[in-house]
Structure formats: C-alpha cells, structure tokens
Symmetry: C2
Subunit: 436 residues, 2 copies
C-alpha cells in the first residue's frame, strides 16, 4: 500500500502539519506564509533565542513584520521549537538551512546533512521532504535521499517523497517576496512532483515545475551565477575605465538605453551576501566531479577576489595625492552591509577592505545605522561610530562602501577632507572625491 | 572666425549635405533615414555594384525595403557614388565602414584609416565628422582626429568637429531599427556635441548624449561584451548540463520566471555575426596598451573558440552510438546563417563546425534558404542543397545549426536517421535526437 494518495489529499486540503527546519531569512518568511495560508506550521531551529522570539511574536528578519508573525503565532497556526524529534508530528518537512562555503571555498554540507539525518530519524511513512537550500545539482537525489532512506529505513516513492524547490528570497526587496516570486519545483518522480506542486501551489501565486530535482537545483545556481559573472564583468570594466579616463557610470546609463539585449549591472567594491559569492562555487565543486572546468565562474571569482585589494589601492592612491600614507591614516567607511538598506554584513566587501587597510596600518571606523558591530574575517572588531561633525573632522578619508538611502551624502562630502566613492553615491564630485 | 555657428544653423535647418562612407548594413539604413527626414545624402562606397543597385532603387540589405530606397533615390534626396573626392560637397561626414579582426584577432583599422584619410584630403572648413563604426575607446580622438588634422591642415574645434555615435543595428529585428533605437552621441567638446545632437536629433527618436567620444565608444563595446560573456556563460553551462543529465533549455525557461535580476541567454553552437565575436576584442586590444588584462573577455573568447570543436565531438558521439565514424559520414547542416531568418553567414559557427567535420573525413552538405553558397575559413566551398526526401535519406546525420523559422522541423526529424539539435529546434525529441 502506498501512502501517496492519502498524503496528497491531506496536503491539498491543508490538513498536514508542515515542519520547517531552519528559521532564517528563508524559513521564517516561508513559515509565516504557509501559516497565513491555512496550514499548521512547526518551525524547528537550534537557536533557543529565535524560538523564544517567535513565541513572543517578535520578528528578527526585516522582511517579516512582527505584527504578521504575531498574528500567526497567536492563532496557533505557527509555533517554533528546538526539539527536532517533533519532526514525527509533521507530514511535510522543508529544509531551509544555510549552505555556506568553508575557508577553502568548498561547500559546507553539514547543515543539510544534519537536517536530513534528523528528518530520517524521526519522520514517519507518508511524508514529503522538500529541500530549499541552494546547493549543487544532484544534492537532493544523491546526498539527501540516501541519508533519509538509511536513517529511516523507509523507501522513496512508497513511504516518502522528495523534491527540490529553490528559495529565491531577495532580502529588502519590497516588490517581490515569497508569495509572489514564482516557485520552481522539481520533484523526484511524478508523485513527488504532484505532492510538491500541490503544497506550494496552495501558498504561492505561481508554480514553475521542472522535470527533476537536479534541474531545479541548477535553476537557482544559473540565476546567481549570471549575477556573479555580470557583476565581475562590470567591475573589471570599471577598473579599466578608471585607467582610461572614462566614467563607467555614465557608460552604463547610456548602454541601458538600448531597448533589447542589455541588462545593467553596476560596479562596486565587490560582491557580498549569502548567495552570489557562494552559489556558483557549489556548482564549480560538483563540476569537478564531472571532470569539467567552469572557466567563467573561475574567472569571475578571481576578479571578485581581487576587488578588496584593488579598493585598498584606490584609497591609498587618493591619500597619496594628499601626501598621506595609509599607515597612520584614519578612515571612515560609510556602510558595511553588503547592499543598501539591509542589516546584513555577511561576505560584505566593506569588511574585506577594512582588513586590507588595517593590515597597512590604517585606523578603520565605520558608520552603518543598520549594523551595531562587526567582526571581520581577520578578526578586526569595530562598533558603529555615530556620525558627527567631530568624527568627520578627524578622518583623513571617508569611503562610501554601501549606498544606504538614509545617508546625507552631500553633507558628508562637504565636511570630509577626502572622499573615495565606490558606489556612485556622490552625484557632483569635486576634486577631493575619487570615484570607482 | 569659427565655422561653428553657420554649421549648426545649416545642420539644424537640414541644409547640409550628409556624406555617408560605407553603404553596408549600417550605412544604407542610415542614409535612407536621413534622406527621408529631409536631408540630402550622398552615399560613398568603393563597390560599383552597390552604387549601381542604389541608382536602380534596389536594396541589397534586408532591413531596407527597395520601395523605400527607390522613394528617396527618385526624389534625389539620396544618391551614391564611388568618387570619394565628392566628400568636398558635404558638410557632414559619417563613417560606417567595417571594423573586422585580422586572422590574429587584432583590430583591422585599415577601413577607418582609409575613410579618415579620404575625408581629411577632401573636406572643407565647416564640417562635422561622425564615426559610427564599432571600435576601441580612444579611436575618435587618438586615431581618427590626428589623421583628419594632418591630411586636411584644418583644426578641430575651429574648422571642423568630431564625434562618436555607435551604430546599434540589430539585423532582422522587426521592432527596433535605426530610427527608434536611442542614439548615443559623444562629441569632442561642447560644440561638437551640440552639432552631433542636432544632426541625429533631426532624424532619430531619442538622443542619448555622453560626455566624450571615448565614453560613447565604450558604451557599444560594453553592450556587446555583455552579450559575448553571457552567451559564453550559458554555453559552458550547457556543456556541463549535458554531462550531468540536465536539460539546459528547461533550466533557462524556469530561471526566466524570476521576476528581477535575470536575463535569459540561450546556448548554441557558438557566437557569430560581425559584432559580438569582434567588438570585445577591440577592447582587449586597447586594454593591453593600458597594461590591463581583461580576464572576462579572455575567458569568454576561450569558451567560444572551443565551441565548434565541442560540437564536432557531439556529432561524433551521436554517430558513434549508431556505430558510425565521422570519417565517411554524410552530414547535412540545417542553416548556416549566424542567427535565424537572416542571410548573413559571417563568423557563423556552422561554417566552423563544417570545417571541423570535414577535417575528420566527413562529407558536409547544408540547406539554408537564405544563403546560396558558402566558403569556410578553411576554404571548403559548398552550395545550398535543396531539401528533399531523397537528400535526407542519404544523410547519416542532420545537424540543426540555425533555427530558421521556415524549417519544418518535425517533418525533417521524421525522415532523418539521426539528428543533432544544437538550437533546441526539436520540441519532442525521440531516441535518435541528440540535443546540446
């Protein structure tokens, strides 16, 4: 007897309990969405802090409003726990754990491994398992599925089903969020696909089915590889334009007037965040297993890697014109988040540039209203400096590393002795402003 | 006394005669457009054949309709000549000559050089010279201008003015053509800019001014470098997907559902035409002069270079499954134009694949309703084969190299023994169809 038909019926009529493993910037919005759409959702996370905040209806993810979270918590549609044995209560399990790289840029699969083991240990027959974490193609079938079968003793296609459905969250995007971003779904086999389509279709505006988990895995990586490659391309063009006396920003604005076949990317001090600097290297990793060398990703990674160093050189060049050295200079970095108007400094190029200038003997400060303190890769720890005339007066150089919209750029430039603008923040630069 | 004000007035009131050097896919549409807009246009080309066809109102460029050409020729708004001394009759001169690469992928600047020399020899004070040929940044100022000043003895900014305004022609594009594609204009100095804006503004819907010729030169190269890099990226992804059992076409369709931050490019046997395979290498050339290594372009070029060879291997693999060798096989290539529905086979990957299979002993045939005969880089000359049941029966393999919309793909596949589909032409492939 197969558990398929009863499970499909229960998913369709929203009578399943959905367990979501990992309550970060992907899991929390997804959990509140499913809860709003009539499902009962159990969030599972190792962090007692997150679980407690959820119990209090207090959101720690800027894309989820506390009032919305409180609504689904109060109605008991959503609760959270640190007790992973409660997986046994759920008929649907969705994995939203991180997939970072280790220090050698190798995929760190330990989070998916742990989540899969937990599910395998506790899940019962009649379960759908969906992986949303961005990872290399073949992960669902060849990494997650074997763990599930081994730990559970259950059989795929009879007792349980798996699919891959990539998260496409864009933190800070006010127009597009979990509910209205089309959801790519790749089930392993027709039954898994039907279960997954029914599940997500009950909560998300548009479902985009593909023929296999590995195709779905590749979709997400293609999207982010496209971004990595194009940001690296425009960064390289910006460096060349700097040497040739061409304003890259003007060039991009003009190129954008082409009514077809062009999409604008903007240069900056480097890529950041938890997707674009990481995802393509998941693909590079698995490609090696197929004896395949991904030259475009490799080159793009190379350009990105050198950006913080190049930006340090830019700052050095600007100081040099004022007959100052990096060594001993006081440098204020405006913005350390990896993109404007968000509170996330993961993989942020600003932190890497801070490491570079500190290594040369500079004293680094930063101002970012969204980020109270930072700790860099090299262990430099700094607290947010309040912006004041006094602070700006003591700085040898102000560097715009993130273009937060709250920055009063004109007023900062007016009071600064020297400005290095890596984000095209300054619209009418005078001679003390150096642009990327 | 400066010639500026009278020239501006004459351009503005359309009382200038415009000389257009080079009457190819850029110059001919531009000449007919200016003529339609009330200017008197003199086309100059070294080819007596083109000049004669124009005199007869017979268009040889598919984007220009003969009826339209005949209209402006009959009204005497447009005439053509092989006599470059007639440059002396013109107050505006526009250079639309080719900028190819030589066999060592170095810019062949001889056409711009010849055009500049001719203009320098014959132009009179009170002239605007606009370069439209895609070329590396600094060409207008540092290559063309010195030739003009030396040959003419005239002085820029007093006797004559120069600008760069990149052609953005997309052959075969029915929606966008010379008149409604925004025109980027970069004059050398404010007067040149004003003259150029006035000239093009009288004929083209939207003018996009940039601050210098070199910025305008970079705009065009950025646009096409973006395309080269993205086509190379997707081709590399396609090759990997082939190894991993993933359908790249399905992946791209799904990625396209992302409502922001993604633009779809499609894989194929390689890039072709007179822009994308060439323009980025103009930039690579000048970058060397600035001691700068353009890694993205270099890598993209590397991937593109290997595509014909990889496609030969695909064909070989398909034949091998039927226990056939390339040596002695008869292979029919469907389409040799570099893109669908046009009659241009310049730099077409199909020709390079033909060279590859012929080198291995295969006998190559092609069918392309738009191209009566071809001669490859390696000197293979072929005539278009009429498509018939008889022809298809004698072929060991049919390869879709260009997806002309007139092809009856289903019927061809039905009659073929073996199909290699490099363009996603076959929508429901059976076991005899091999896809990229």
């Amino acid at each position: 007897m197969s558990y398929y038909s009863p499970l499909l019926e229960k998913i369709s009529s929203r009578k399943v309990r959905i367990g979501i493993l990992g309550l970060g910037y992907v899991g929390l919005p997804l959990a509140t969405l499913f809860a709003r759409k009539g499902y009962t959702v159990l969030g599972l996370d190792k962090s007692p802090d997150k679980v407690q905040k959820i119990a209090q209806g207090e959101s720690y993810i800027s894309d989820v409003k506390s009032v919305e979270l409180k609504g689904v918590v109060d109605s008991k549609a959503f609760s959270a726990s640190v007790d992973f044995s409660r997986i046994a209560e759920c008929e649907v399990l969705i994995i939203c754990v991180p997939t970072p790289l280790d220090r050698f840029k190798k995929p760190d699969m330990s989070f998916i491994q742990d989540a899969s083991s937990s599910i395998g240990k506790f899940m019962r027959p009649g379960t759908l398992v969906s992986l949303e974490s961005t990872t290399y193609p073949t992960t669902t079938e060849e990494f997650m599925l074997p763990i599930l079968e081994k730990e559970s003793g259950l059989k795929h296609g009879q007792d349980f089903w798996v699919c891959f459905s990539p998260e496409r969250v864009d933190p800070g995007n006010r127009q597009f969020h979990t509910e209205n971003i089309p959801k790519v779904v790749g089930g392993l086999g027709e039954e898994a696909q039907e279960l997954a389509k029914t599940l997500y279709g009950n909560a998300i505006d548009q479902i985009c089915p593909v023929s296999s988990p590995r195709a779905a895995e590749m979709v997400k990586i293609l999207e982010n590889t496209y971004r990595l490659v194009n940001i690296s391309l425009v960064n390289e063009m910006a460096l060349l334009c700097g040497k040739m006396g061409i304003n890259i920003w003007e060039v991009i604005e003009a190129a954008k007037t082409k009514p077809y076949g062009f999409q604008a990317f903007y240069p900056g001090p480097g890529i950041g965040g938890h997707c674009i600097p990481l995802d393509p290297f998941y693909l590079e990793h698995i490609a090696r297993n197929f004896n395949f060398d991904l030259a475009m990703i490799h080159t793009a990674g190379h350009i990105d890697n050198m950006m913080p160093h190049r930006m340090m050189i830019k700052i050095n060049t600007a100081l040099n014109r004022q007959k100052k050295s990096l060594n001993g200079s006081r440098i204020l970095f405006m913005g350390v988040a990896y993109k404007p108007d968000i509170d996330d400094e993961r993989e942020s190029p600003a932190l890497k540039i801070i490491d570079e200038v500190v290594k040369k003997g500079a004293q680094a400060f930063y101002h970012d209203p969204f980020i109270p303190r930072i700790c860099t890769h090299e262990g430099v720890t700094l607290e947010n400096s309040a912006l004041s005339d006094g602070l700006l007066e003591t700085m040898d150089c102000v560097v715009f590393t993130t273009n937060h919209s709250v920055f009063d750029v004109d007023s900062i430039v007016k009071r600064a002795r020297l400005v290095v603008d890596l984000r095209n923040a300054v619209k009418d630069p005078d001679e003390k402003v150096y642009k990327l």
